[in-house]
Symmetry: C2
Subunit: 334 residues, 2 copies
């Protein structure tokens, strides 16, 4: 489906934003009437952040400003803004067009569009934008993911209601300067549409329109069958990853860091229980962030870079699953 | 911002789908209490189609089947499905993941994701997918746009309520075989975020969540300031197009066909009133289709190809504006 084409693309800046409000398990266990300890045992999460009214685009702008500062660039350097979230702040226009104004970027100075592959939106956007950066079509792209999951939780579905947190993350992407090693080596994504029903949000579209009197509140909330998702991921990920590694000519141990989507504690455990990665390779922030949907992966990456765990030149594997069910992996030299 | 990089990409199939129900101006003028003739004078539209309950993804599948038949390919040949609509059938997962099952395509046989740039989603998706096809990352991509605008019309805002129609369109994209001329020569998009407020749909996202009691029905409908959009497009399009043509080394008369987004009659007239295209170059289907949002442009293209007006090897310019406000142009050899 895809073959290896190393692209001279460098992530020169990473940033993230967390709403201030920390929601710990005790608060949710009380609110949802579940036993103390249930959440951590099931999900590996101890706390997550909830948004207190700031907009999704405000969250994104904070993460983008941090990423630009990290890159030593300004908003005037950006000629492409790519939204990579599970949904928009509003239906029209796309998040990226709204972010241009929020950042105070020049009107007409950048191209703004969104990419949606649910939880994998960020690596999909990176893989999609990379050839445009490598070819010089754009000089400097910002990819951002911003999520306010807390407004769409269904308290009647405890397993998903405890899983999600809010936040944003962003990356600044440029062509690799001559003589540097940064590159995207291989990107691959595969969708198993039979799993679409296991993670969905039925509303906010044409099928169950918000104004349709038959649309129920639960249709406008996350609906997950966590066990079904886990089983499908456990079944499909090993052959997917084996094929990816074979085409790359790499072994699991070759990556200095694996930055996964933080789907769930058990989902992350698949990386060393069913695939052959070591726990020490895996960047894991779910314990304190929860699953921040599309923002999870770039947030974990940004945190690991700013903590100086991931360093320039390190080999990194981005990997994960997203609603669809889509599997994805991107191998790069940071 | 973008420079010319001709990509060996060929659109091998085009298709479209129209719901059966024809809604003429007399019906809308009666329903909305407006004077006979007002709609045609304002918009250049005589009729449009309204969906009768089929899903957005069903519409898409019909258009994709026609495009695959046109290409002489089957769904088994497709390894990338790209949704390019203004919104989804549901929030999660993306339209493309839902389409995989609707088409009866193999589970795990393709990568599915959506791109959103409102009315320009199709040319943005084409420009974004083209390098992935040219490089061999994917062999055969299907890009589809499917819209059910009729569920989001605000009868209190007559100018937008009469404008939109429903339908879908799709294109099959492969690498150009050696020795053939088909190519994408230049793609460019620029967003003027100051215009975001002139065309928006405030609901169906995190800002005015469908379950928020403060969300009003009007927030879940199109809201357009047609005059403001027209004036911004009239002001920004000439310098945008001049720069595009200069970088391409082309004059307006060099294109055999101009396939625009069918924004409105007056918007289409800009192509010969403010830009230097001839009316005879412009493919115009708004009179009988209305503005079908993201599906307008590929539907006009498909209809012109199937009517044998656009022929293999012809030079084609895709052009238009979309909510954002985003301007876009793609120059190609069909």
């Amino acid at each position: 489906m895809q073959k290896a084409v190393s692209l001279p693309v460098k992530i020169v800046g990473l940033g993230s934003y967390l709403p201030e409000r920390i929601v710990d398990n005790a608060e949710l266990e009380t609110a949802l009437g579940i036993a103390p300890g249930w959440i951590y045992d099931r999900t590996g999460i101890r706390e997550r952040r909830y948004n207190s009214g700031e907009t999704a685009v405000f969250q994104a702008a904070q993460a983008v400003r941090m990423a630009l500062a990290h890159a030593g660039l300004t908003v005037a350097d950006v000629d492409c803004l790519v939204g990579a979230s599970s949904g928009g702040q509003q239906l029209i226009p796309c998040n990226a067009a709204l972010l241009q104004s929020e950042l105070g970027a020049a009107d007409g100075g950048s191209f703004c569009f969104d990419i949606n592959a649910t939880c994998l939106s960020f690596p999909v956007a990176l893989a999609t934008v990379a050839p445009l950066i490598a070819s010089g079509a754009y000089r400097c792209a910002v990819i951002f993911s911003t999520e306010i999951a807390s407004r769409s939780l269904n308290p009647a579905q405890k397993e998903s209601a405890v899983l999600f947190g809010d936040g944003a993350a962003a990356a600044v992407v440029v062509r690799t300067p001559n003589g540097e090693a940064s590159a995207i080596h291989l990107s691959r994504f595969t969708t198993h549409g039979s799993g679409a029903k296991h993670t969905h949000f039925l509303g906010a579209g044409s099928l169950h329109h918000p104004n349709d009197p038959d649309t129920t509140p639960a249709m406008n909330q996350f609906d997950m069958n966590g066990v079904a998702v886990f089983l499908q991921a456990a079944r499909t990920m090993p052959p997917f990853m084996n094929a990816f590694l074979a085409d790359l000519g790499a072994k699991p141990g070759d990556f200095a860091h694996v930055v996964p989507h933080q789907a769930s504690g058990h989902g992350l455990d698949l990386l060393h229980n069913r695939l052959d990665f070591c726990p020490a390779q895996v960047v894991r922030n779910i314990e304190r962030r929860g699953n921040v949907i599309a923002a999870s992966l770039p947030m974990a990456w940004s945190e690991a870079v700013h903590a100086r765990r991931i360093r320039r030149g390190d080999s990194v594997l981005l990997v994960g699953t997203g609603a669809g069910l889509t599997l994805g992996a991107v191998a790069l030299t940071y």
